[in-house]
């Protein structure tokens, strides 16, 4: 209590220095968390690919065809792919909630695909464990909808603008945040970033039946076609496919996608990551220097405390508590700010989590401890009386 009071007195007396230090802590936490967040996104995406069966897959992007109009043509082209056992697609459809004009996307995975792409769930079960019972379709909702629906909740929606085709759904699982769903830009190149992009407004399901028990069809968009096969001679086969379908579609393996992704990452994320990391280093170095200076300015005060009956331990505690207040307060605010702003602006190309924050805080505290120790060891070496005289 006494120590806390003295620490606060200390803070008040040198509030200007401490405000600067607090700002530095703020920036350091911000920069390092951003940097780690980007690193995490990168590894997350890589892991997602590595852990799913996507690594066996080949992605097909039909350049100029919208197969929603001509399913037969689509099938005709697919037949040209020799040796293919498993070919999957994702149909997309826009639906409307029953009681509002709000719409959402529904991605319907063709049979078996959902087994190959298992996303992490925050609760519930994955689609492949659930079947349609009584025309109620099992669906997985994104994390952002979890404030509204829980596992077991029913959602009623319409699959058409006129609100005639009614669909009953049951939430069986909720995706982990961040939310990654397979989606692709129409006519665009296949890009891993798109493939695994985040969508806050997308429900995942298998095939969907309406109330009458009829299957609903969506749009098979270019790029949302995936073959997953443990091909013996993958490279040769893919080359053959590419020749076969030349001019109609482009094929890419996961390796090619990864390569493209890596180049993109290097251009975009890693650059920011490095800049943020350098910013963190600079600010932390400044922080250490600042803390060192401010401690040196206080060394005389501690000597006087010591002379008047404070032990070394008490002096160190005062220093420590002052430091902790100066570090933890802005750090927590900074982190909360970062967290809230990424959440609110759904600037979801970042993963901000508490572990990164704790790492940052730990690093900053170590920097502070070292600078405090340097100062206190000087106090210990010279003795309080020499200090009182020297720092007059």
């Amino acid at each position: 209590m006494k120590i806390l009071k003295l620490s606060i007195k200390n803070l008040k007396e040198r509030y200007f220095v401490y405000i600067i230090i607090a700002l530095q802590v703020w920036i350091a936490v911000f920069a390092f968390n951003t940097s780690l967040g980007q690193l995490k996104l990168y590894t997350f995406t890589k892991n997602l690919i590595a852990n799913s069966k996507l690594s066996d897959s080949v992605y097909i992007c039909f350049d100029n065809y919208d197969f929603s109009k001509d399913v037969e043509l689509y099938e005709k082209y697919l037949k040209k792919l020799i040796n293919v056992k498993n070919i999957y697609h994702i149909e997309g459809i826009s639906m409307f909630f029953e009681n509002s004009n709000l719409n959402f996307d529904c991605f319907m995975y063709s049979d078996g695909l959902e087994d190959n792409i298992k996303y992490k769930l925050s609760s519930g079960q994955w689609l492949s464990n659930k079947k349609i019972v009584g025309n109620v379709n099992p669906v997985i909702i994104p994390y952002s909808m979890s404030y509204k629906y829980k596992v077991g909740d029913k959602i009623t929606a319409f699959a058409d603008v006129e609100k005639k085709v009614k669909v009953a759904m049951e939430v069986v699982g909720i995706l982990e945040k961040p939310e990654y769903t397979l989606c692709m830009n129409i006519g665009g190149d296949i890009d891993l970033n798109d493939l695994l992009s985040i969508s806050e407004n997308t429900i995942i399901s298998g095939k969907i039946k309406d109330e009458q028990g009829n299957f609903i069809h969506g749009f098979i968009q270019p790029g949302r076609v995936v073959t997953i096969d443990n091909l013996k001679n993958k490279d040769a086969t893919v080359l053959q496919w590419k020749n076969e379908l030349n001019g109609i579609c482009s094929l890419q393996t996961i390796e090619e996608l990864k390569e493209a992704y890596d180049i993109r990452i290097k251009d975009k994320v890693s650059q920011q990551m490095v800049i943020n990391f350098i910013l963190f280093l600079l600010v932390t170095a400044g922080l250490g220097g600042n803390s060192l200076l401010s401690s040196f300015r206080q060394i005389r005060e501690y000597s006087i405390y010591y002379m008047c009956g404070a032990s070394w331990k008490t002096c160190m505690s005062i220093r420590l508590i002052t430091d902790l207040i100066v570090i933890v307060t802005p750090a927590v605010i900074s982190f909360a700010f970062l967290k809230i702003s990424t959440e609110l602006l759904s600037k979801s190309d970042l993963i901000i989590d508490i572990n990164n924050f704790i790492i940052t805080l730990g690093l900053i505290i170590i920097v502070f401890l070292i600078s405090s120790l340097i100062v206190l060891s000087r106090l210990y070496r010279l003795g309080p009386i020499s200090i009182i005289r020297r720092y007059e």
């Binding site: 006087i304 008047c308 003795g383």
Partner: protein, 225 residues
């Protein structure tokens, strides 16, 4: 055997083992009785301050014993030493050793804050001490706004606020003019008369007129006691 402080064969070596090793005290023995007014004299660098610091538990001896109230404290832990400094010792320094940016009251209260005095008693005790040295009117002033003599009075008030038995003063008049120096010495003498034990390090010859014992120290050893 009622010595307040007893030093037996103490030595102090700074930076022992390194190139910059200094043998500041060599086998010094000294007894201090309750009510003594002792002056420690000697040339610059002879080890006066060092002696005062180890007697006041501000620093540790390299060898020998320091006995305070019949207890050998030379091997005591930091916490116990700080307790002794807090309860039994009051320090007065040449450059006052005050925190310049704080008020007089703040400065004087420091020993009470680290002791076990209740929060609501602190102010009263401080005012009492300040009244005793005649600067109670400056209680709310910032230390930096005071003159040298006033600062030293504040420092003395701080030294006596916890009612210690011993006051250790390292050149308390060194930064003051003769007139003010005499005022300060009179005050210390007055404290001595009221039962405090005083140990003063000083170059100043006038100090000898006030004390009842002089210890001369040369090159770390006591020459005349």
């Amino acid at each position: 055997m009622s010595f307040i402080i007893e030093a037996i064969n103490i030595s102090k070596i700074y930076n022992e083992g390194s190139n910059s090793q200094v043998h500041a005290l060599r086998n010094v023995s000294i007894n201090i009785k309750k009510g003594d007014f002792i002056a420690i004299r000697g040339r610059s660098g002879s080890g006066k301050s060092t002696l005062l610091n180890v007697l006041g538990c501000l620093d540790r001896v390299t060898s020998g014993k320091i006995i305070i109230d019949n207890i050998d404290i030379s091997r005591n832990k930091d916490k116990k030493l700080s307790l002794i400094r807090n309860k039994k010792m009051g320090f007065v320094l040449q450059d006052f050793g005050l925190i310049g940016g704080r008020t007089v009251l703040d400065n004087v209260s420091i020993p009470l804050v680290f002791g076990d005095v209740k929060q609501r008693e602190i102010k009263g005790k401080c005012m009492e001490a300040l009244k005793l040295v005649g600067v109670d009117e400056f209680a709310k002033k910032i230390v930096n706004q005071l003159s040298g003599g006033q600062k030293q009075r504040v420092a003395i008030a701080r030294a006596i606020v916890n009612n210690p038995e011993v006051i250790l003063a390292d050149e308390p008049t060194g930064a003051l003019d003769t007139h003010t120096a005499i005022e300060i010495l009179e005050m210390l003498k007055h404290l001595n008369k009221n039962g405090k034990t005083l140990i003063i390090v000083s170059h100043d010859n006038i100090v000898c007129n006030y004390c009842n014992r002089t210890v001369n120290i040369s090159d770390g050893s006591i020459t005349v006691s």
